[in-house]
Amino acid sequence: MIELYHIWKQYQKPDWALADVSLTIRQGDFCFITGPSGSGKTTLLKVIFREILPTQGQIVIDGVNVLKIPDHLIFRLRRTMGIVFQDFRLLYQRRVFDNVAISLRVIGLGNKEMRRRVFNALRLVNLHHKMWDLPSHLSYGEQQRVVIARAIVNEPKIILADEPTGNLDPDLAFEIMSLFKEINRRGTTVIVCTHDRELIRHFGEKIFFLHKGKLTGKEVLPSSKK
């Protein structure tokens, strides 16, 4: 469970990127964080996986106060999460396999188990046949699927996705979101930041609305649209 209590974040005075945001996301939830550009969606995500520290407030994930974790132990938090960015952040000089395996190398997994997990993750995103290709040889949609595979290969509890379909056409976007839904169905909490209303309308279960850093609304839809 992710609990945010009165989160404030200021980059530069006098504007607040986040202003008194409090929300709760339960294990297994599939939720969207939406709002116009500059509303604080990415900042909220960065605060959750502690890339930045809030100016004020508390974040508790599964009973652990995230802000009290020492810097040299942040890696423990990050290993429970899979993070997907709009700009992919792939290593283009390494093969697809190595890009996905990086999440497993850092935990010191053996080669045999690593190969098995990477293959399974790529099979889930339907890219196992391109395991030895370079990312530059893949389409945008395929590259994003590689990123998703990297995010899930470690079987994280939480997936955080920041505009994962921002660079993709509607059909691909739909395909990617379906993947997230499938991952969520297996028990992973999925949090997606997007301003794509069509996707929200189709896939949304729990939706948080942000505007100028403030949480302006929350909606819970029946999870019938799968």
């Binding site: 040299h72 290993r79 850092v106």
Partner: protein, 262 residues
């Protein structure tokens, strides 16, 4: 640094050789008769401080000069007469080399008839040792500057390496790599750079040691030994390599602390 160690080795060797062959040279009157020669030798041999005594005739002295300083041979010929007096080379036992007993012995020799001058190369030993200390001090000073420079160079090389791999480091942090996991390859890189650098420097030093005598030539004669570079022994060479590795490691560590903040 290797050159200074080599020079220092040479001076140390020279000093050791001088100590081992600490000699008093007693210059006698040109008109020394064979009986007087025998009497002097017998007297000196009685002293427990002495290991041996050798007589050097004027002809022998002239031959030595011609051999050690071939350029001066024509000068000797032009003189017409042999300027060298007869002399005795008296070797002192090493354990007495710095003892005041030697000074008293020298004083007693001065009062001997037909003794004209006495030279004792203990002064040379002290001069060589002092010179060696100066060389070592300069070496330490220069080594300190070079170590600092090496640290900065390695630190900047690692910094460039970090910049080149920034994307990868960012991803490693995202997927939960520990600081040590990120740090380790750069520390290895810095250490290897340091060891390789030391190895290359030792290789150059070896070349210099081999080529320097050819450069200096043989005109220095007896002084050639003073300028002869001696190779580093195995422990010195290994120490330099290990030292290089440590400097590389420290430079790398410093760079990571400053730029990666880990």
């Amino acid at each position: 640094m290797g050159i200074f160690i080599s020079l220092s080795n040479n001076l140390q060797h020279l000093a050791t050789e001088l100590v081992h062959n600490l000699a008093i040279v007693v210059f006698m009157d040109k008109n020394l008769s064979p009986q007087e020669k025998e009497a002097f030798e017998a007297k000196v041999k009685q002293s427990p401080l002495i290991t041996k005594i050798d007589y050097v005739s004027p002809e022998e002295a002239a031959a030595r000069l011609a051999k050690n300083f071939p350029d001066l041979e024509p000068v000797l010929r032009d003189l017409g007469t042999n300027p060298f007096p007869p002399s005795f080379e008296i070797t002192v036992q090493e354990r007495y080399s710095r003892s005041s007993l030697v000074d008293r012995f020298l004083e007693s020799l001065r009062h001997e008839p037909k003794v004209r001058d006495i030279q004792f190369n203990r002064d040379w030993v002290e001069k060589v040792e002092a010179f060696g200390r100066v060389v070592r001090a300069i070496g330490v000073f220069l080594a300190s500057i070079l170590i600092l420079a090496s640290l900065l160079i390695v630190s900047n090389v690692i910094r460039l390496s970090v910049i080149a791999r920034q994307d990868e480091i960012g991803i490693l942090r995202l997927v939960g790599a520990t600081n040590n996991f990120i740090r380790f390859p750069f520390l290895i890189e810095g250490t290897v750079l340091g060891i390789l650098g030391s190895g290359v420097a030792l290789g150059f030093l070896w070349l210099i040691i081999k080529l320097f005598p050819l450069y200096v030539g043989y005109s220095l004669g007896a002084f050639q030994q003073l300028f002869q570079l001696r190779s580093l022994n195995l422990s010195q060479a290994l120490s330099l390599m290990v030292g290089g590795g440590i400097i590389g490691l420290l430079g790398s560590f410093s760079s990571l602390s400053r730029f990666l903040k880990i």
